[in-house]
């Protein structure tokens, strides 16, 4: 009995020591809920989805205020997609003022560096930059902050989940197995750090030829839907592969605002509505 008590006391001391080692989660001032948009795999459309999700959230409920944080330090796409350029100004207490377009305040490493400059940083420096992008920005009062994550399952993902409370993660994948494998790794990582997975979005689901309307599943068919079932996560919706999405993205005019009645915009709005429902579910 004595040995058991001693062992339990030792375990408790070790647990307390380890808990001290991990950073404490502190919410970002003024931000009610943080939604991360992640994938594991690169190039599946995280940034495009993050931007159109943010706009979709305001379209679905115009009274909500939404911001976008571009956490992809090496390949920041948000400035291009939101047609924003320039160095952020500072408030009197040295907080960076986000750049705003379409009613969405945004912050990105892309605003802080030259267009052609590579950001060749190891993990430690990246973490420090992420900390600044999270805490040294004058976000004001936001209902949702959509965070566009970089690909992978490393420093950035760990830092963000350890430093701020995340209301939920949206995982984006294309239907291909090679993307799904990474999506599964991404979902697993969020489970490890106790971030609720709101669901999976299947991007680039199908392409319809503008000439003959023949449908081609260029990147495979329904894989993300099946993965969602396998992993026991929700399926938030399909986004088709449409020329308009890429053309508008390249122009910095997200489809949700530039073609609000198009099927592509509707697809994003549906995902936004599903995200709102899921946030309510996981918070209860």
């Amino acid at each position: 009995h004595y040995k058991q008590r001693k062992f339990k006391a030792l375990q408790e001391r070790q647990r307390q020591q380890m808990a001290r080692g991990l950073p404490k989660q502190k919410p970002i001032t003024g931000v009610k809920q943080v939604i991360v948009v992640a994938s594991g795999k690169g190039g599946v459309g995280k940034s495009t989805t993050a931007v159109n999700l943010a706009l979709g959230l305001t379209a679905v409920n115009p009274s909500k205020s939404v911001g976008v944080l571009d956490a992809d330090v090496h390949g920041p796409s948000i400035p291009k997609l939101m047609n924003l350029k320039g160095n952020p100004e500072l408030t009197d207490n040295n907080l960076m003022i986000p750049l705003t377009n379409y009613g969405i305040p945004c912050m990105s490493m892309g605003f802080l560096v030259d267009d052609a400059a590579p950001i060749v940083w190891r993990g430690l420096m990246v973490m420090s930059a992420i900390e600044k992008l999270l805490r040294q920005v004058n976000w004001g009062s936001l209902d949702y902050l959509v965070v566009d994550m970089p690909p992978g399952t490393g420093d950035v993902q760990l830092s963000i989940s350890q430093n701020i409370p995340v209301a939920g993660a949206v995982i984006v994948s294309t239907p291909q197995d090679i993307a799904l494998l990474d999506a599964r790794r991404g979902a697993e990582m969020f489970k490890k750090v106790n971030v609720p997975v709101l669901g999976l979005v299947q991007n680039m689901s199908v392409f319809q030829c503008p000439n003959c309307h023949h449908q081609t599943h260029i990147f495979g068919s329904d894989g993300a839907r099946r993965l969602a079932e396998t992993l026991g996560v929700h399926f938030l919706g399909d986004i088709p592969l449409h020329l308009n999405i890429r053309e508008m993205s390249d122009r910095g005019q997200p489809v949700v605002v530039s073609s609000p009645d198009s099927p592509e915009a509707e697809a994003y709005k549906k995902v936004a509505a599903a995200v709102v429902r899921r946030l309510e579910e996981v918070s209860t």
Binding site: G75, G123, T216
Partner: protein, 263 residues
């Protein structure tokens, strides 16, 4: 002991942007070079998303040690294509690898020096997106050896070329020779009516090459047959020798070989 001593040429496949087809192009180039009679190796340093084992359908082989280090995994009995990837070292290759920088750097150091490649004509190094720990680690560790240069892969659209432009600056700053730019997913021909739609735009890679004074290696179209082939781990070069994608890849591999042998 130098495990890279008998490797004639080392080529990095970079992008900066994720999802443009680095692993696909690495795999296809390796297969094309093999068909041209070369002995090829692929080092997959994408620790978080290792795609190469899947694309070459090598399954879940054990990795053996020999006196010189790790024995690479061969895709065939003739040992014409050798691979090393973190996928082979994990209990379950689909497990998430959630590592911070220093741990990644350490493993990449081992991958560069401790794989017993033996004699190879070309070693292709498939990288993850970005310009971070993995890229710095591989360049640091390859410093003692000759690195012939890097191939940069991009899709034509602006968000991709923007990132690849940064990568080009990275190469110039680190003294890494740019062997050329490949424009992937360049146009899609409807299999039904042959109408070409530039889903991911077109020409962006070629324009980037002109803008930065780099060699343009060629365009590879968006081809569902290629995606399916990669998905199933099949040899596209063998299965579809008459497709425009095959000609594009073969032409790029010839240009690459010529520039490696000329230098």
């Amino acid at each position: 002991n130098d495990n890279l001593a008998q490797v004639q040429h080392v080529v990095l496949v970079l992008s900066g942007k994720g999802g443009v087809g680095k692993s696909t192009i690495t795999t296809e180039l390796a297969l094309a070079l093999r068909h041209a009679g070369k002995k090829v190796g692929i080092l997959d340093i994408d620790l978080c998303g290792p795609s190469i084992p899947r694309m070459l359908s090598v399954g879940r082989p054990d990795v053996h040690q020999c006196d010189l280090g790790w024995v690479p995994v061969y895709t065939d009995a003739e040992k014409s294509l050798a691979l090393m990837s973190i996928g082979f070292l994990l209990d379950d290759p689909d497990d998430a690898v959630v590592w911070r920088g220093p741990k990644k750097t350490a493993l990449i150091g081992q991958f560069v020096s401790d794989v017993a490649w033996g004699e190879l004509d070309v070693l292709l190094v498939d990288t993850p997106p970005g310009t971070s720990d993995e890229h710095l680690a591989v360049l640091e560790n390859l410093k003692k050896h000759k690195v012939d240069g890097a191939i940069l892969v991009t899709t034509p659209q602006a968000v991709s070329t923007g990132d690849v432009r940064r990568e080009i600056t990275f190469c110039k700053k680190t003294g890494l020779r740019i062997l050329g730019i490949v424009e992937n997913m360049s146009g899609f021909a409807c299999p039904h009516c042959s109408e070409c739609t530039n889903i991911f735009s077109k020409g962006g890679g070629e324009d980037l090459a002109k803008l930065t004074g780099s060699v343009f290696l060629g365009s590879v179209p968006l081809d569902p047959l290629l995606s399916a082939s990669i998905e199933e781990g099949k040899d596209f070069i063998q299965s579809f020798p008459h497709s425009p994608t095959f000609s594009a890849i073969t032409s790029i591999s010839h240009t690459l070989l010529n520039s490696l042998q000329a230098a």
